[in-house]
Symmetry: C2
Subunit: 341 residues, 2 copies
Amino acid sequence: MTQAPNQRVLLASRPDGLPRPENFRIVEEPVPVPAEGQLLLETLYLSLDPYMRGRMDDAKSYAKPVAIGGVMEGGTVARVLASRHADYAVDDIVLSHSGWQRYALSDGTDLRKLDPMAAPPSTALGVLGMPGFTAWAGLLQIGRPVPGETVVVAAASGAVGSAVGQIARIRGARAVGIAGGPDKCAFVRDELGFDAVVDHRAPDFAQQLERACPRGIDVYFENVGGKVWDAVFPLLNEFARVPVCGLIAQYNELPQAMPGPDRLALVMREVLKKSLSIRGFIQREFAGLRPAFLQEAQEWVRDGRLRYREDIVDGLDRAPAAFIDLLQGRNFGKLLVRVAQ
Amino acid sequence: MTQAPNQRVLLASRPDGLPRPENFRIVEEPVPVPAEGQLLLETLYLSLDPYMRGRMDDAKSYAKPVAIGGVMEGGTVARVLASRHADYAVDDIVLSHSGWQRYALSDGTDLRKLDPMAAPPSTALGVLGMPGFTAWAGLLQIGRPVPGETVVVAAASGAVGSAVGQIARIRGARAVGIAGGPDKCAFVRDELGFDAVVDHRAPDFAQQLERACPRGIDVYFENVGGKVWDAVFPLLNEFARVPVCGLIAQYNELPQAMPGPDRLALVMREVLKKSLSIRGFIQREFAGLRPAFLQEAQEWVRDGRLRYREDIVDGLDRAPAAFIDLLQGRNFGKLLVRVAQ
């Protein structure tokens, strides 16, 4: 075979706050050769997601950190280039977790075959993949909106937020999105059909959010943290639910950088007064519900009730810069790196 | 009738931090006379509970504040002195919410008849009343301990905490109590049978708590807040549940007095990393479960598996001082004021 060399993005050093390009190192290595029972994958799309920031730290978390010198991890859609595995044939398209590299070997255990006729394969990394499932599970299992309630979500044009608001509407709730800048806000309102959208860059953001939620907030799907929380928190209704799936605004903060005032006492007081529920979760907790999600979400995507937008960057060498942009909210839609055609 | 005058404790002014005696005013008024359909109650026991501190503030909460000049509210066990109500006879013993006063009228709608043969009537204000139900509902509906898990509760010799730990043990969990001083700790360990107890006054309190919870904490029943939280929080296991029913250590803090560091960002990060659940509640949310609670708890009390201790103060005029002591943890067991014999 006359392939390009195996381009791989390694973690060169652990970032101190926001990652910088020098925290990554791009290397070229020989393409690996599958042994009996293995198959060789070529990455078509690499998913870039905020959770990856946590893997770059050496802190105790729900998943092991990437080792220094290790390949950055991530979900991929890949094509089978060569197979010595009975269940997979050349040109099969699969969902994998082969990370930031062009080629990878697999023994087949961590793969799911995709049907390119059922949905574009890239959706397996977005609206029909981990981000969509995070939205579906967190909203319906923890947020549990009932018709007429108000659901607020930030990063509303992003992979998770866009699904949260649309699923809330499908379930009869009122969806209020928060996004950054007029283009994203217009997309959330006009393309995704949210009931209202508020620009967090507006100087009177908190007042605008209050006006957009005249009956308060029943579910706040927390995926950003930071100053959005401060605007949302006073608007939470009695018995409000706060599923917490991400804190992108905080990922780059250093633990020691926490000047006062101490909001914890105030938050706990409100948790008590309003019988609030704050619940962190990782989508894999609900793994048993994935088939139910896929069935519902595929139908919603087909009939146009669940829309999505992809932000595609070409070339694996651009993944580090695209990821740094993502952490600053500079992407617009589900961020994917197209590694090969 | 030749009764004593109706002694009543009014809210004279709103406290600024910890209440002081001058925030209360004791008055004597004529004993009211029941009209047709009413009955006259004489208070036997008045319950003093931390939630009453919140009622003294003019802040928005889950219940209306007591008005300046109004009678302090509270649960009572009372005797029917005179009845013009078909359902009640003289000498019936009832659970009421007639507040900090010796005599009160009732139309019967807010009463529950007590059977003095089934259990001492004072228990209707403690282990078989609101505090016991708060423990039962918060632990079993929100905390949901499974056998072998570790349940931690502070104020473990108090009305709620003592029941939390004992019910946790009945359900097969390991109960670790936190209490203040050697007498309370000995009571929690030796009389209530907790698996371990830690004195929060010890200089190495956090280290002692860690040693008492070698497998971490699965349920932290939060009823105090403050520094206990800081010791508990790092020990919470993945998927730990934190029912929040009170924050007695914070009730007297002023909202503006919150020097840094800001612990909220750290707490939210851990909520996410560990899939923690923090859930405020008021027992009345679970009112439909009261009959189930009563049936279980009465049986547990009868067979000695659910023990309780009462701290009885004689005379309504001593209620303000006893209440101020309660807020500083100076009571030992369920605090009751014996108003009449």
